[in-house]
């Protein structure tokens, strides 16, 4: 069974603009990769637990101690559009 991937939908989920040329090129490539990747379903039985990290560690906490951190200026130093000490973004909420 061929793998069917709705590129437009997935690209929207990923907030990723694709050109028509990219969609035409990536489509067949991704289908081929997914065909190969689907092999994982052949061996992963129900009784096999999943692994998220190779060396599991749980409840890792740092001591709650004050220490130096980035200054306000440093934190904003790479912002594409800093404004009055903040990160400015285009309008998020539509006009009422």
């Amino acid at each position: 069974m061929a793998v069917d991937i709705d590129l437009e939908h997935v690209a929207r989920l990923a907030r990723l603009q694709l050109t028509e040329e990219e969609r035409a090129r990536f489509g067949p490539q991704l289908e081929l990769i997914l065909e190969h990747a689907r092999k994982v379903g052949e061996v992963a039985a129900d009784d096999v637990p999943p692994t998220s990290h190779p060396v599991p560690r749980a409840n890792v906490y740092r001591g709650d101690e004050p220490r130096p951190c980035l200054t306000h200026e440093e934190a904003l130093s790479n912002a594409p559009d800093p404004f009055e000490g903040r990160f400015r973004v285009p309008r998020i909420v539509e006009d009422e």
């Binding site: 694709l18 490539q29 060396v55």
Partner: protein
């Protein structure tokens, strides 16, 4: 070693030789750096290992080391050694792009832990090295800033994703380098460039300040031209870091201790299916076999082992890594750093920024990962891949009951031509078939040069060990290195064969 001063090949020396010469007063950190910068000047126009040479910063660091020497102070082992840093490591005040347009203007306000430790110990930075965009690739062709050329054959790739770091160390443009290994990105380019590449246990080296690709798979690794130097570099950067929650609490050690203990009686496991695998080049198989023979001559016992689920490891990797990448790379949205392409409203700005800022391979993986995690597909893809990961780990546990280390070729092929696999992502992914299992299992693995193929291109010999058993991996690699005495250096020629 006498009269090394003024020698233009200082960057070609081993770090331990330079360290000894420094302490004997035969050279200075500044002389070592200047010789290395001259080599960069001479060859990097054709190799293109560096995105940025940090001569000013390096000179200041070298002068500080020379000052400490004059004052008669004790120096850490890495002091004065020129080190190249892959451009996925954040370096304070030094532009860091991850090989991507989307981070082209980014100047980190802080240092990653590995470089912070090296810097505090007096290491000297030569520059930031080229790499595949966000470390995604096996050829360095996915860099937004152009490919790196393999010093052994300039028409060929250096491997990836840490291609610039491997190439720089191969031709004396740096003595050591830092890299990152998520699916083989240190070991595979080390193999293709004829140098030593180590990926230690997951969590052994802090990843604080390493630009994230796939967090359950990302490892910091090292490049050098000998196992002894590799052990010295690892000793300087390994150890717990409260800034990285995945960093292991086990106390650091001096990894140069016990290197010379030999391999008498050591059980070396070999996965026989891998050698007969379609796509493994005869030249790779022959050089690997010569390495096994050498280990046997030294008294090791070669035993067959099985990794029955290794066939599925590649498939699992190409679901897990893109899935984690699609999440990690969500932060590049045009708000806090990097590129912004304006748009009508925030979603359009995000979407255009990402469309303009990411290259082909990163886009493919973001789509692949988003798809594998999306409603209705999660269980069939990501969930199943995580179960395969469990099976791969169980396989290794079983294999390490019969073997102390497991040997395999690092890559099924030697360096391939630039452009040869660029339009076939799946063929490119197969470059990592022998390196991915160690990333999935988090176990330490090293690649050392074990010979050349019929075209004179280097072949890598990989040794994998149990979790945190870097000492056995390094000891066996050191013994093999001494026995093989591989001394060929890259010729910087444009074609071979």
């Amino acid at each position: 070693m006498t009269d090394v001063a003024g020698d233009d090949a200082l960057g070609d020396r081993q770090g331990y030789e330079l360290a000894a010469a420094l302490r004997r007063g035969e050279t200075s950190a500044s002389e070592i750096l200047e010789a290395t910068l001259r080599r960069i000047e001479e060859v990097d126009g054709s190799v293109r290992a560096y995105l940025r040479v940090t001569a000013d910063e390096g000179r200041a660091q070298a002068a500080a080391v020379d000052e400490r020497l004059r004052a008669g102070g004790e120096l850490p082992a890495v002091a004065g050694i020129p080190i190249a840093v892959k451009d996925v490591f954040c370096t304070k005040g030094i532009r860091t792009t991850a090989g991507s347009r989307i981070l082209e203007p980014y100047v980190p306000p802080y240092d990653c832990t590995p470089w912070a430790r090296l810097s505090a110990a007096g290491a000297v930075m030569t520059g930031k090295t080229n790499c595949d965009e966000f470390a995604m690739g096996s050829s360095n062709e996915n860099s937004a800033f152009g490919p790196v050329h393999n010093p052994w054959c300039l028409d060929a790739v250096p491997g990836g994703s840490s291609g610039g770091s491997a190439a720089a160390v191969a031709c004396g443009e740096a003595v050591w380098a830092l890299g990152s290994d998520t699916g083989g990105s240190v070991r595979q380019p080390a193999a293709l460039c004829g140098v030593v590449g180590l990926k230690p246990t997951y969590g052994r080296i802090s990843r604080y300040g390493l630009i994230a690709f796939a967090s359950s798979l990302d490892h910091v690794g090292t490049f050098a031209r000998s196992v002894r130097d590799t052990a010295t570099l690892l000793s300087a950067i390994a150890g717990h870091d409260p800034m990285d929650a995945t960093s292991l609490p086990d106390p650091p050690r001096d990894y140069t201790e016990g290197l010379d203990a030999g391999v008498g009686g050591l059980r070396v496991g070999v996965v026989e299916d891998w050698l007969s695998m379609e796509g493994t080049e005869p030249g790779v198989r022959d050089a690997f076999q010569a390495g096994l023979d050498a280990l046997e001559r030294l008294g090791a016992n070669v035993v067959p082992v099985k990794l029955p689920h290794a066939d599925y490891a590649l498939s699992a990797y190409y679901l897990i890594a893109p899935a984690e990448a699609s999440s990690n790379l969500a932060r590049y949205d045009g708000v806090r750093y990097g590129l912004r392409v304006e748009g009508d409203g925030v979603v359009e700005m995000n979407t255009r920024t990402r469309g303009a800022g990411f290259g082909d391979e990163v886009k493919r993986r973001i789509i692949l990962g988003t798809y594998a995690l999306s409603a209705g597909y999660y269980d069939a893809y990501y969930g199943q891949a995580q179960k395969v990961r469990t099976l791969v780990i169980r396989d290794f546990r079983q294999a390490f009951a019969d073997a102390d280390v497991i040997a395999a070729p690092t890559s099924p092929t030697t360096a391939f031509r630039i452009g040869e696999r660029a339009d076939d992502p799946l063929a490119m992914y197969l470059s990592d078939v022998f390196t991915i299992p160690a990333d999935l299992a988090g176990i330490p693995a090293i690649s050392i040069p074990c010979g050349v193929d019929g075209e004179g291109l280097p072949v890598g010999f990989q040794l994998m060990g149990k979790l945190l058993d870097e000492p056995t991996v390094l000891r066996s690699a050191h013994a093999l290195e001494q026995e093989l005495a591989f001394a060929q250096r890259p010729a910087l020629v444009s074609s071979r064969g």
